[in-house]
Amino acid sequence: MQQSLRVFPSDVAFVPPTALVEQARTARRLPEPSPAFKSKADGLSLTIHGLRKSFGENEVLRGIDLHIPAGQFVAIVGRSGCGKSTLLRLIAGLETPTSGSIGFGEDPRAEDVRVMFQEPRLLPWATVSSNVEVGLGRQRSRSDAKVRAEQALAEVGLKEKRDQWPSVLSGGQKQRVALARALVSHPRVLAFDEPLGALDALTRISMQRLLERVWREQTFTAILVTHDVSEAVALADRVLVIEDGRIAHDVLIDIARPRQHGSADLAALEGSILGHLLSAGDDGADG
């Protein structure tokens, strides 16, 4: 899957600003953990260059240039049909670009890039813990698979459900199992495709806290596609607004964590991003 992605040398650290990108400023790097603690599970940086994707006549992405530093939490928002999910699928290697390139800071192993979808996509005929073991990729036949699956389940607070069938879990629990499956291989890039879109409001908030917690603990690079701007500003270091297949705005969310749900700062940011989105929609750019 990763063969199609060209790998940049890690010293190519920025993308030259173009007319298409309003701000190509390199976003604030997170405080790097000291080298002694640097484990394999640290995030990978991501550099996207001139990325285009067409489905037949329909050009969905029209030139994306983007650099995501290792360990950053990036949210991608936009109207439906703006190409945000396509961008995510390209990053995850589920689609091949029409032109342009996506490079990771280092050559990723297959287990380094994981995706979590809006639907949990659990195997109904496998127990919760076997579902999590699927996430180990080629290592799932190793003897420590069970232990690792249990650790991942403990991380999302579902250890006691390990022998259950997925059909008895609630929607939020299923999504937590899917998160455990994505986490079990200790990925370095985790792509979320509206993972909380189908959950009720309270479950969403507790899932957002869970996502933030595991991201802080495991320090992977997180890319979250969402249509919920408040979710984007609550979770992300940086919000990318995609319009018409291009990055229209690149907003840094420089608010200390843990963030207070509904705080004035977040609300102001949310309002300004929503303003961008809505004004673009009035130009008839609705997708």
């Binding site: 589920l94 996509r121 195997l123 699927v134 996430g135």
Partner: protein
């Protein structure tokens, strides 16, 4: 949790062992009514013998060893025919579900053959195989083939493509994809095919045995008709009913064992 979940559940009162008994109440009542109708002379025994007479006929043929031998012969034919037809149907279902080339190559032909009532082939089969074992096996296998083929194919085609995509993302090889996702996903549909096939298996076998055989349950019934032994005819029919029920129960047990993950098979 919805509002409905907060309501107190209607408690179903259960007698110990009642679940096993209830399904048999109706057959037993029918037997009793039948016996009474015959004993009082309401139904002449030349039209329908009393259950007690049928039981007596059964006992006699058990003693002579004839009944057991005939049941055994029929059972053997049914099993072998089912295994042959079922495995060919399963193989074609897999091949056509997984490979477009195979599907294009064979599906049209199979659909044409499917629309020929397989019992219409009996004259031809007798010409080909005589009244040998192979004639019956051929017919049973042909009858069993299609339900298993169609349902296996349907099962494989309707496996959730999102799960297959998930499996690919998590690095499953084709073999693993089949073993962990495609086959378990197709299994409920395959079982539907098996249960259809079991019904067709008995039907085909009995018809084939009444027309062209020198042993077996169908043959026993035909012989009895020749000699006006109506109690033996009724006995054979009752045995078909029991064997059919037995085959269905066996497939249910298998279903319950392999589909325990399925919400429809979970005990509440």
């Amino acid at each position: 949790m919805s509002l409905a979940d907060t309501l107190p559940r209607r408690r179903v009162r259960r007698l110990p062992g009642a679940d096993g008994v209830i399904p048999w109440i109706l057959p037993v009542v029918i037997l009793i009514v039948w016996q009474v109708a015959c004993s009082t002379g309401y139904v002449p025994t030349r039209v329908l013998p009393a259950p007690s007479d049928v039981a007596l006929a059964g006992w006699k043929s058990v003693q002579s060893g004839e009944l057991i031998r005939n049941i055994w012969v029929s059972f053997w034919r049914a099993t072998i025919g089912f295994l042959i037809g079922g495995s060919i149907g399963f193989a074609f279902g897999l091949a056509n579900g997984l490979s477009q080339l195979s599907d294009k190559l064979t599906d049209t032909t199979l659909q044409m053959i499917r629309n020929v009532p397989h019992l219409a082939l009996i004259p031809l089969v007798i010409l080909w195989f005589g009244i040998d074992e192979s004639a019956k096996l051929f017919l049973v296998a042909l009858g069993v083939f299609f339900p298993i083929y169609l349902n296996t194919l349907h099962g494989i085609r309707t496996v959730d493509p999102q799960l297959i995509e998930m499996g690919r993302i998590y690095g499953m090889s084709s073999g693993e994809l089949f073993r962990r996702i495609i086959f378990p996903g197709a299994l409920p549909s395959i079982f539907v095919g098996v249960r259809f096939a079991l019904g067709i298996m008995w039907l085909t076998l009995i018809v084939a045995e009444t027309i062209a055989a020198s042993s077996g349950l169908g043959y026993m019934a035909m012989q009895a008709r020749e000699f006006m032994l109506i109690d033996v005819v009724v006995l054979s029919i009752l045995i078909y009913a029991l064997l059919g029920k037995l085959a269905d129960s066996a497939s249910r047990v298998l279903e319950r064992l392999t589909l325990s993950w399925h919400p429809a098979f979970q005990k509440h």
